[in-house]
Symmetry: C2
Subunit: 469 residues, 2 copies
């Protein structure tokens, strides 16, 4: 059978309205950032798990690869077909967007993989429950199946863990088309190997997540947000430990922002201004939340006052709308940087205790090697996860700089990450982007174990080929 002959049986499974071919496939074959573009036989939109299973079985029988896709918001080219891969079918789960069950007493909801993250926030909130996976910017677009397949992170990880920690059960269509029903909603279950953790974060290379049981939390009634100018990253590291000791699990965000980020935001994003009357090199935004109606702002002020002189100045509010002015600065850094052209982006993590060391060392090495660069460092310091982006101040020189030196810059940054026992992909995954690079930074034995697992689950390598490994 030539690949195109698959279109008729595929259409028979999902219905003619739910299969795209030719130019109509374009939006589903190009990635979120516009850097990866691939080719496919068809893009199909199954209505339910049985249809996913039937599509997978059909593809397997014809040795055609499958690219599972949700909202297609991967930042690493993980959710689009390969450029040179003609024998691929995109299986987009967006139609599978039902809430199967919300059990408020069990603090769980069972949902299909195509549910949009923003919709899950809303459904939970209606029952006075919180689904705390904090990817607010992309939440209207991304889907929970993709969030789980990439073990999504975001703002709330230091309190709630990443996507992995919010799952109790999964339903997965395996590479041979069979359906594994692991949709349990149990807090404790020690009756064998925990299979769900293999599929979470596997970026669709071991099977297609079709439904999940998610953990919910109680909704918050109090909030306090602080904007804190600190002496530097080392002070920020100590401040976080101090806050955890004194505020415990109420801390739901701890983000660091360098001066360069502010400069970009003020220049390129309308209606933004300095959070303080004077300029500061390093600012932290931190947030406390609690289910009780307590005076979190008073508590937060006390704790900040006790920290000492490594805080230059700070402001605290319990008004979310007021604080939105600060969050706007944080949330628009990527957008502001885009206005200045491309940059060499890194999504790295190190132990929280070593974040300052990472920034100091990487800044020194890069500034020494490359004159006139701008380093934009910001992110989820509470998890040791820094977004660390490099470009030329001079936008005319920038494209040349990137085309000539991207590899060297990556190597300098990743070597430091590696020496600090960090990760070159903290939350975005590997996808196509870092599939080759990871081989230089992960032990051969670990890569071998990963390949063994891949072979066990997907011996014909038909599940999202060219991603991860």
């Amino acid at each position: 059978m030539i690949p195109e002959d698959l279109i008729i049986p595929l259409t028979a499974i999902v219905g003619s309205d739910n299969a795209l071919t030719g130019e109509n496939m374009a939006p589903f074959c190009r990635d979120w950032r516009g850097r990866y573009s691939g080719t496919a036989i068809a893009v199909v939109f199954p209505a339910d798990t049985q249809q996913v299973s039937a599509v997978v079985k059909l593809c397997l029988a014809n040795h055609v690869a499958i690219v599972p896709q949700g909202g297609n918001t991967s930042l690493c080219g993980g959710s689009v077909p390969l450029e040179n891969g003609s024998k691929q079918v995109v299986v987009n789960l967006s139609r599978m967007n039902r809430i199967i069950l919300l059990d408020a007493v069990n603090y769980t909801m069972t949902v299909e993989a195509g549910c949009k993250l923003a919709d899950l926030y809303e459904v939970a909130e209606k029952q006075n429950r919180l689904f705390p996976l904090g990817l607010t910017a992309v939440a209207p677009h991304c889907e929970i199946g993709g969030n789980l397949s990439t073990n999504a992170g975001g703002i709330g990880v230091l309190r709630y863990g990443s996507a992995r920690n919010l799952v109790l059960g999964l339903e997965v269509v395996l590479p041979d088309g069979r359906i594994w029903n692991g949709l349990r909603s149990l807090r404790k279950d020690n009756s064998g190997y925990d299979l769900k953790h293999l599929f979470i974060g596997a970026e669709g290379t071991l099977g297609i997540i079709t439904a999940a049981v998610l953990k919910l939390h109680p909704i918050h009634r109090s909030v306090a947000i602080a904007c804190v100018a600190v002496r530097g990253p080392a002070a920020a590291v100590e401040l976080l430990a101090h806050l955890r000791s004194n505020c415990g699990d109420t801390i739901s965000a701890f983000e660091i922002i360098s001066r360069s980020c502010f400069d970009l935001v003020f220049k390129n994003i309308a209606d933004t201004d300095e959070p303080f009357s004077s300029k500061h090199e390093w600012v932290v935004i931190t947030q406390l939340e609690d289910v009780s109606r307590v005076l979190l702002d008073t508590a937060l002020r006390d704790v900040l006052n006790k920290f000492g002189s490594d805080i230059v100045e700070f402001e605290v509010t319990s008004d979310k709308n007021y604080a939105e002015r600060w969050w706007k600065l944080r949330k628009n850094i990527s957008e502001a940087q885009k206005c200045e052209g491309v940059s060499i982006k890194h999504d790295i993590s190190v132990p929280v205790s070593r974040v300052a060391e990472f920034i100091t060392r990487a800044d020194a090495v890069l500034h020494k090697k490359f004159q006139g660069i701008r380093i934009v460092a910001f992110g989820h310091m509470g998890d040791g996860n820094i977004h660390y982006n490099i470009s030329m101040m001079n936008t005319i020189q920038n494209e040349d700089f990137i085309s000539q030196h991207e590899e060297t810059v990556n190597k300098l940054v990743y070597t430091i990450v590696s020496e600090l026992n960090g990760s070159i992909s903290a939350e975005h995954g590997l996808g196509q982007l870092k599939r080759d690079t990871i081989a230089d930074y992960k032990e051969p034995l670990e890569l071998e174990l990963m390949r063994n697992i891949k072979r066990t689950f997907d011996p014909f390598r038909l599940m999202n080929p060219g991603k991860v490994l």
Copy 2:
């Protein structure tokens, strides 16, 4: 080579003081509850990971099986050699009890597998940190390697998760003797499959955990404990949801105790008495903890008062010593039951919202089928995990009852668990005890995937054979 010839090279690896043979092996070949007894060529006590690796390689070369062992406190015969297995070596990790690193700022500690759980509590506390794996009764005996290999649960799971959730990284000696160094201390790392979750809860059947990076939490400064008489299990379920909504993550325990438990404890344990002036059928003990110095007892009283008439009466204290009187009742249930002879024990879980349904249905079916039985139901209701033990009131009839009806009782209980999408092993694991039974309650496809993983990691089935699968 005959098995006994292995003793010399084994001794060469670990030193003659650290290898036991003959009768000296007895305590390490018999399980915690005295129900399983096995035979081994030797019991060895390696000093470090290299020695573990060398022992495993030697055993592999000679087709001799390995039984990894920590404190040997398994309740399912998971940590002792098989009865009929002459070609087995017990690898006991108790000598590997070093704290490699405590990073208070990163809120982590890196420890060897043989560290006793109670020692970890202490080491963390000295740095104002909490290691919240709540197995207080067995903590002086059990070791962290075993806790992780069985994904231990205990009292604090509803707040902190089970052992699995307290791990950031692992070091594992694989079944071929190679050492996987996954000792990362990162909060975020999406750079490939998450291998650590395969080894956690695998009961030593995929490799030997030799070290781990554990998450720490800030130490608490406030506590409030309530003893609450409720109308029944259904009221307890609703009370838990109400408490979570109003007290959030401060809830660190929620345990339910049936009347039969109290009767046994008062009869058999010295210096215990009714928590209230009148007798109640169902009592809950719940605990709030917070890092701040807040009036948790006042808050808890308010929340309990608002719950309404399904609470018969309650008492709250913030004095841990005073509350110890209540905790003593909970902690001595197993001991008290032992005084009355053996019983048919179950360690089951269902969704929290269905705990009352489980108890009501199981009680009804069992009382109808068997006259004169005593049902002892208690446990971690906050996680949907009930210990549900059955015996005859009349101790003379009891042994006959158990020998004749254990299988029927198990079947009746597990059928209800299964219908409620629960687990027949919530926290104790499978070990030898439930290895065969699980086949009746887990989907064949899931068992097949487990066997495939086992085959991939341990093709010669030499790692803790006869356990789990």
